[in-house]
Symmetry: D3
Subunit: 306 residues, 6 copies
Amino acid sequence: MLKPVLLTAERIKSLKIQGARNVAIAAIKAIEASAKETKAKTKKEFIRELFKAKRILFATRETEPLMRNALRLIVAQIESSDKKKIVELVEIISQASKMFLKDLENSKKRIAEIGAKRIRNDSIILTHCHSSTVTHLLKKAKTEGKNFKIICTETRPVFQGRRTAKEMLETGIKTTLLVDSAARFYMNRVDLVIVGADAITSEGNVINKIGTSLVALAAHEARTPFYIVTELLKFDPSTMYGDYEKIEERSPKEIWKDPPKNLTIKNPAFDITRRNFIHGIICEEGIIPPHSVIEVIHRKYPWIFS
Amino acid sequence: MLKPVLLTAERIKSLKIQGARNVAIAAIKAIEASAKETKAKTKKEFIRELFKAKRILFATRETEPLMRNALRLIVAQIESSDKKKIVELVEIISQASKMFLKDLENSKKRIAEIGAKRIRNDSIILTHCHSSTVTHLLKKAKTEGKNFKIICTETRPVFQGRRTAKEMLETGIKTTLLVDSAARFYMNRVDLVIVGADAITSEGNVINKIGTSLVALAAHEARTPFYIVTELLKFDPSTMYGDYEKIEERSPKEIWKDPPKNLTIKNPAFDITRRNFIHGIICEEGIIPPHSVIEVIHRKYPWIFS
Amino acid sequence: MLKPVLLTAERIKSLKIQGARNVAIAAIKAIEASAKETKAKTKKEFIRELFKAKRILFATRETEPLMRNALRLIVAQIESSDKKKIVELVEIISQASKMFLKDLENSKKRIAEIGAKRIRNDSIILTHCHSSTVTHLLKKAKTEGKNFKIICTETRPVFQGRRTAKEMLETGIKTTLLVDSAARFYMNRVDLVIVGADAITSEGNVINKIGTSLVALAAHEARTPFYIVTELLKFDPSTMYGDYEKIEERSPKEIWKDPPKNLTIKNPAFDITRRNFIHGIICEEGIIPPHSVIEVIHRKYPWIFS
Amino acid sequence: MLKPVLLTAERIKSLKIQGARNVAIAAIKAIEASAKETKAKTKKEFIRELFKAKRILFATRETEPLMRNALRLIVAQIESSDKKKIVELVEIISQASKMFLKDLENSKKRIAEIGAKRIRNDSIILTHCHSSTVTHLLKKAKTEGKNFKIICTETRPVFQGRRTAKEMLETGIKTTLLVDSAARFYMNRVDLVIVGADAITSEGNVINKIGTSLVALAAHEARTPFYIVTELLKFDPSTMYGDYEKIEERSPKEIWKDPPKNLTIKNPAFDITRRNFIHGIICEEGIIPPHSVIEVIHRKYPWIFS
Amino acid sequence: MLKPVLLTAERIKSLKIQGARNVAIAAIKAIEASAKETKAKTKKEFIRELFKAKRILFATRETEPLMRNALRLIVAQIESSDKKKIVELVEIISQASKMFLKDLENSKKRIAEIGAKRIRNDSIILTHCHSSTVTHLLKKAKTEGKNFKIICTETRPVFQGRRTAKEMLETGIKTTLLVDSAARFYMNRVDLVIVGADAITSEGNVINKIGTSLVALAAHEARTPFYIVTELLKFDPSTMYGDYEKIEERSPKEIWKDPPKNLTIKNPAFDITRRNFIHGIICEEGIIPPHSVIEVIHRKYPWIFS
Amino acid sequence: MLKPVLLTAERIKSLKIQGARNVAIAAIKAIEASAKETKAKTKKEFIRELFKAKRILFATRETEPLMRNALRLIVAQIESSDKKKIVELVEIISQASKMFLKDLENSKKRIAEIGAKRIRNDSIILTHCHSSTVTHLLKKAKTEGKNFKIICTETRPVFQGRRTAKEMLETGIKTTLLVDSAARFYMNRVDLVIVGADAITSEGNVINKIGTSLVALAAHEARTPFYIVTELLKFDPSTMYGDYEKIEERSPKEIWKDPPKNLTIKNPAFDITRRNFIHGIICEEGIIPPHSVIEVIHRKYPWIFS
């Protein structure tokens, strides 16, 4: 019965599905499809299957908080329900999936609305890497008639900054591209830095594309405001209970195709930006200090800790 | 008579001659050759020619302090001499040229000896870009039996870090390569940062490859010692008299070969590392604080200010 | 029916009513008076009138969080009530108004009690501008027998520091007055800085009289504790949803009566002190870190977000 | 009836009972024993006795938050109960005592589990003074097979660091001991600093053995993570309401047995580490930023504020 | 014979002569005039008179380094001369006076030339108080066709910023005026801060109008370059030998004409900006780091230490 | 003939002679005595003996800059002399020895005079460890009628702070003693920190008793001025040429007499205080920034580099 889950898990592992949002959506849909095909006779059996599906999907990535939180929500809904019939449980899963997807969509929209207010006319905004939440926000600001410029770092090794630059140019925003290491050289002219997030930790730190913490350091040195733009569902509860943030090591080939023999190439995908470098997290709840993130999660998504 | 100078100037402009040291050597040799071919009859005429040659060579680059200082030395020698005969003046130029080249060679050797003492056994050294003075120092330390590891940033846009990595591996030094923006992620494990210099300013600041100041900032944040390795003849006296440091803008093509239309690409070749980030300058005079550099120049190379 | 509201709005606009507390009290009383005169027949009509009154009063100032929060409370009470009769609704408004005023009074008293404990014997306290919450606290400490000295900045352009100085002298406290720019010169002798607040933002930053952030910076540099003394009802929920803090521009005449032609005079009334400069907010809830302010508001005044 | 309380109070005062945990346990047991012997006839009388017992035990130490919070819990349970019979009330006290002790035990265990995850293989951990919560955590990490080294400061004046060193050596952990003032000299080699806490304040600051704040400062300068390991029940609610942190002055004899005449010896037992030096508090709730501690307490132990 | 000296001393004391430059010029001229009227018969007598004159003029101000250095130069010239005849000595004084005045004039011109190069097109320059060396520099930059804006602080208590603003407007420079405490609010938009100096100390610190160090602190926080513009002859050699910088206390009436009884008003005229806040000193020698100032003085004005 | 040198070397090695000053004096006297007994026939032979003596004495300590500089001076005098007769050379050594001792004495006196001016009335001075140059300065200030208090750290492991405390009490100065780790707790009340030096490096850093850099860090955090009091002859020229500062490791027994088995005890005698923590060096030349120390040495003691 878990075929849809196994198939999706395979596609996530092989990077056929990419991006926190896409991975989460695929996982939810796989769970939903699997539930519909279930042959479980009792709630107990059904739950056992559900946990198995969760384990399979969790194992596809070292860390992927958005997807994991989606599955946590579904499990929490089933566990807290007093329904017993399988059809009812399948329906609960369907409802929870829809709710999660709708919430995610609303969050994105809401974040864009809130964040767009932070874009001042005639200002210069710097961003690092590519984040669809960030570009959505900037397009929203442009749509509202704000006039501003974007500076993108190219974001080695795989140049996601170029993708950001293209999207910005297509929206009609004046765009400048730099090598990553020029961030400090231009920082004194920048009015605002905004970047996305891959995960948020219980300490209020943010995991994002390698180099983010260096941009944050340069922004801090120049007293330039630095904001994170993200759904709170990127919160990773395992950091709460002591786990270190997972920093994925990617292929050296991304950095140098034909390196000399014996050369060690280190290619961490992310780094950690500490809360004291972050002016605020622009999220579906509004603009909050990163220090309060665990209590905001406790209030808004208590099931994340279950 | 200025043919050798004109030819050399052309080759410098078209980047056929590159690297501060090579440019300086070529310029000196061109001056020497031109002097030997002179048709000047009087000292006055000879000096006029010399100044013309100097102007031509100065104009080949926006800033190139080592070459300029070489020419300043030659001019100073002629001006302070009471010799009058042309053959004598030609001889003075020959002597000055030899002296400068020998001094430069000695400086390099001396810097390597002094700097090699700073390399501790079992330490991790990070460097940015490629500097022959730095690699010379590291090879010297290796030759002396020191056991250490090197971390090289790749140094976008033209990957000089790869050249550094290759040289290090050939010398048998364990070498790791990173993207530039990973410098902060590894900084807490680094024991020492050393980089070269393109120019030194009267305030004691250092002009070097774009990204140097960001590495320095990350080193400062982690209390990791940061040293500049350079000949003092990279001092640029025009900064003394108010000129801003020249930051060359290079071709956007170095960053992105086929960028989208309307994209602005900024490609500054250098940035400025302020003296308060620099523990010391390892130079032919020993290890000095950058704050004292103008007085060291006044004592050791007073003709630079003439 | 909205006559009392319109009259009061006029008096607020023309600065006949001034000070966050006075403005809030006047607005509440105007709403209450208007409600008593209402000719509305249905709850729907009544609420429509109430919203209109709220809009009129909100429009009197660019930002005035205390007054706005008072009106938010009243609206929230009406909306959450299941009462339907007009007389009952009028009564609810009366009750809510009384409650707000009483709460405000209690907060002030409680803040003074809590804050007075922070005043050590034989200490030197520096304050900037005039805040009745601050002077109330200091008088309380004096009444309790604490022996301390006050340093007041004069607070250009309108010298509110003189008012603070007079109040302190009348209470028998030894008082010194400085020009604003002498704050750093004396900071090493200061044991504690306390100032009031005009507004608190969702990030935990504080809007207060121009110069406050400069005093905070100097306190930070000298490791001198810096506290904000304020009711939490100064919290501005619009900052939560992305709005920038409003910084009122006041008349240039306050700075220079007969300036030369063509001179631009900028006269911002406030500046922003970031949360990392603030040791604590002394408020009706106790002494809290500014980083936790949004969750404290969610717990204590949830209707502010409605 | 209060005999057990009086006896225990005496033993706490005379330092026969020492250590936050031991003092709390003794106080609870004394209350429980006293309750069992009560001759009170009415709930009112019973409560009066209970308050008296609380006052007596509070008075044994200037500040001892763990013990005080234990008593606060017991009182809160009695007050919120609608039981009226004495035997029932005695039973409530017994239950509350057991619950508190069990919670304390669970917290310790849970903190060790969470914190042990923070100990990386091949890392160097520095600690100051002796804390059983810290050593418990380190032993747990060792038991789990983690390989790491400990650096202990000796912790003048009474050398608790020696006790930590002994415990670590007994567990088979490689241990180095330093004088306190060598902490900065070794800090660049340290990967993690963890220390215990005597009290937590409402601002998120931590009171711990004298010298802790200096270690924290040196850790901050070197970008070395600094964590507090403690039960949240060390929170001191009186700081919420304005009280300064109590810093006990201990006997000069601890520092110098036969000092010269006229010498003043100051021997503060604790100092205060501000929240901005603390990466996280490792507690029974997980790893939290110190800035959010008051809201975590409000959520988890609301009776502390009663 | 010392009549001109006594008269001039009187006029300096009564503030009829003001400004470091004017005071120095008046003092020199008085010495010169007195020398011409001398009735001394021997060199010994002449020198005794000279020392007396020096003492009288030194005593007119607590500290006035430019004037004092002028007198030091004259005394040094006489002492080092082997001339014996009175007429010859008088002539030496005349020559030394002329030289000093000419040097001062040249310094001012040279500083303007050097400093003008630092003014970039389309930049915003902030200055505090009024300094003729600074305004001279800015006018020079304007004359050279540079297009830039000036922000002046009003500079309480005696509003010298208004004088700066007027001069700037007369030169056709766009000018904005602020209250002193708004300096931080605008600092992020400022490209360069330049201010004058009243004295330079042996540590490389600068004494200037009260508030300068606060502006420097705000510039430092925002990574805005901060330069001192001054003749090196403002160096105060007494700080070399341990004297504290003199900070003149001026009349409270400057701050508040009719203050309440018992109010203490502190009115320090200057504060001290430490060398680490100063990017460079723009002086007649070029742009130098403040750290090297004592060695520059030793090289250029060795007689200052005599 | 080198018997006096060998005997003295032995006594230095076995710590029978201690303290930078005593060691330097003993070494000079041994050289002088040896020279008088020489059997050398030629200047060449004499110089060979002198170098041998220098080598023997250098080898007694890992680093001892004052003694080494004394010997460097004597050697420089002999080498630069054109005298040839042995008796003349012996006389030169005698003269050089006397000069060095007299200079040292004068330096101490001069430092006390200069430094005493820095002690303000009613101020609190903190010092670490024991330095006779520092206590001499403080006694001088007391003698001049200054009224001030001293705070001494005890200075583990061998409690030199107790010696400082005793000397201060004997001079009638109010003295407080702390454990080393309480330095930060009291720093906000301290007006000035002064400490001695064991060596000065070419970068302008200072080697002094372990813990000095931690005191400096705490002073820096609290904006408390921090001064080094030392003769410039403590400058160590080998750091100029790349050598690391030598940090002597002393016996673990100083820290713990009977440590548990397997415990590693690290006992570094010194640490390094970087120039940016040092307001000034109070030396025989006056008060200078540490950044200029190499140029001051070049000017005043050029033979140190020979």
